[in-house]
């Protein structure tokens, strides 16, 4: 009967009726009839309607964007938005980004490796599409956040405690040097043809003067003054605490 329905696939996802258990089930106290893929959709609805789900997702977003220990009042407002909007993430994010807690927390979050690497490359090359993403993947690998590389379902850590080790900082300084001192392989086509961009990027650019320079700490300014080349200046800036937090 059901087994004669073909399997449905999307990307690496597959639902195969021939391997499905069609017996009735109970989930979170609700009866779920054995109907095939419809059960999965029911299960998702049941889970998303739990207040705990609203709070969990809101808290994860608040940790990612605001603080490692986010203000409970903000998380609660986000959870309310989640429940009233039936799980509309854009609405929840609007609640987050419009909050005064978001503004007052700016500059306090340690960037995870993905944000560090992407923000560095964007700062150096915004508007210029890179040709080779292999260096990016190598850096992310070395920093411990390879895309989809987290082995367990809890996902990559979101907090400073889990990322800011001595080995992590050393590696970031080396990446800063690679980005600050040359094209870092980002513009070397895979087929071996000539690089489309050579030389090191100009980091003392308009974005720097508008968004970074006014807020630099005294120690970072001292370090930049001690740079004896543009490449070193770039390296120190990308290595600075100012650039590792946002």
């Amino acid at each position: 009967m059901w087994a004669s329905t073909p399997a449905s696939r999307r990307g690496a996802f597959e639902f195969n009726p021939a391997r499905h258990d069609f017996a009735p089930k109970t989930l979170l106290g609700h009866a779920v009839e054995g109907s095939g893929f419809g059960e999965v959709e029911n299960a998702v609805k049941l889970i998303v309607h739990q207040p705990a789900c609203a709070r969990f997702i809101s808290r994860q977003l608040a940790i990612y964007f605001v603080a490692d220990d986010p203000p409970p009042a903000l998380v609660e407002r986000m959870a309310q938005t989640f429940m009233h909007s039936d799980g509309d993430i854009a609405a929840v994010l609007r609640t987050l980004f419009m909050a005064r807690e978001f503004d007052s927390a700016l500059g306090g979050k340690f960037k995870d490796p993905m944000r560090y690497v992407i923000s560095s490359v964007r700062f150096a090359y915004d508007g210029k599409p890179i040709v080779n993403s292999r260096p990016l993947l190598n850096w992310l690998n070395g920093l411990g956040e390879a895309p989809y590389g987290h082995a367990t379902p809890d996902g990559y850590a979101l907090t400073e405690l889990n990322w800011a080790s001595s080995g992590q900082m050393s590696r970031r300084f080396e990446i800063a040097r690679a980005i600050g001192s040359g094209n870092a392989g980002l513009f070397d086509p895979e087929d071996g043809s000539a690089a489309t961009v050579t030389g090191f990027p100009q980091l003392s650019n308009r974005l720097y003067f508008e968004a970074l320079e006014p807020f630099l700490g005294a120690r970072t300014r001292e370090a930049l003054n001690r740079a004896n080349s543009q490449q070193e200046w770039n390296t120190f800036l990308l290595s600075s605490p100012d650039f590792n937090y946002e």
Partner: protein
Amino acid sequence: MSKMHAVTMNRRQLMQLGSATLASMGLAGRLYAAPASGPRFLLVFLRGGYDSTNLLIPYSSDYYYEARPSIAIARPEPSSNTGALALDANWALAPAVRDTIGPMYAQRQVAFIPFAGTEDLSRSHFETQDSIELGQPASAARNYRSGFLARLSDTLLGSSANISPIAFTDALPLAFQGNMPVPNLSLKSVGKPPFDERQSRILSDMYSGQHLQAAVSNGLELRQEVAQQFADEMRAANRDAINTKGFELEAERMGRLMRDNYRIGFIDVGGWDTHVGEGGAQGSLASNLASLGRGLQAFSQSLGAEWNNTVVVVLSEFGRTFRENGDHGTDHGHGTVYWALGGAISGGSIAGEQQRLERHTLFQDRDYPVLNDYRAVLGGLFRSMWGLSPEQGERIFQQMAPVDLKLV
């Protein structure tokens, strides 16, 4: 920047220095040279729950062969020098480690502790791994800022023992989260240091007064130190003198660093979650075990004479199901086998509480039971290694009486 020269004190000079001086070389977030004596401890964490049943084979159990029709390892044959190696009347060593761990066992430098593990019954990798690395009582709420290796380091700091902790990993493991900043560095590749002294100083200065200051300084110093330490290895590599690779090379490097400067180390190895196509005497598990065995052997050799001052513990978050599953593999279990290795341990034995392995003695009709709690076992080891008082032991593993398996 080079701390290597300070290391070669002889024992008499060390005694003359006295413990007051040693204590003053304390850890204010900086690395320092440790004299070439004193206990060393390395924890090797096999992440994924390795199948201990196919490492330490319960060959006297008929049920083992019924339960694993396609992946069981054949009983040892005395006339053969391949195949499983009988350790006693009940247990045999996997063929994959026969030539590396076998001889060490014969020299009494290895002991196995089966029926080891935790109270955690989630059978979830990350939950149980966290549980072990934190080493906290199950009843209390978890404090993710306090791992047991950090507490061990803290406790030893107060005494005259020298400790220099290090994690040979890309990220600092939970076990080392604590008050003291612990340096971490993976030894998979050691290139020349990217920053000279002047640049390192400028980078450090940017963080002075900031709470990452110690981590930043530690990281830069460690990079320099490791690059210098292995500069000769890289020259040798250019002359084709070195032919090892993978974990073995890493382990050899770890041994050299722990011979000279470091006392408490951590490394993790992945790839043990064999749900599918595990293999038996050969296959994916056997390959991983062989690589691990070679690595441990290389580690012991590169420590030189200090191997007699070293204890290595190999563990995993849990064992696997006694029976194979429908995919010629095994699933998450409970009790597992811990290894203890060291030049001067009382090895050559199967240690701790044990029981027979028949169908009716399995835990929940599927797994090994846990008869030896990891905190009791590690607590007992640490007490003996460093002569800790009961109060000191309690600071490391609260609410857990240590068990002395008389290995040290």
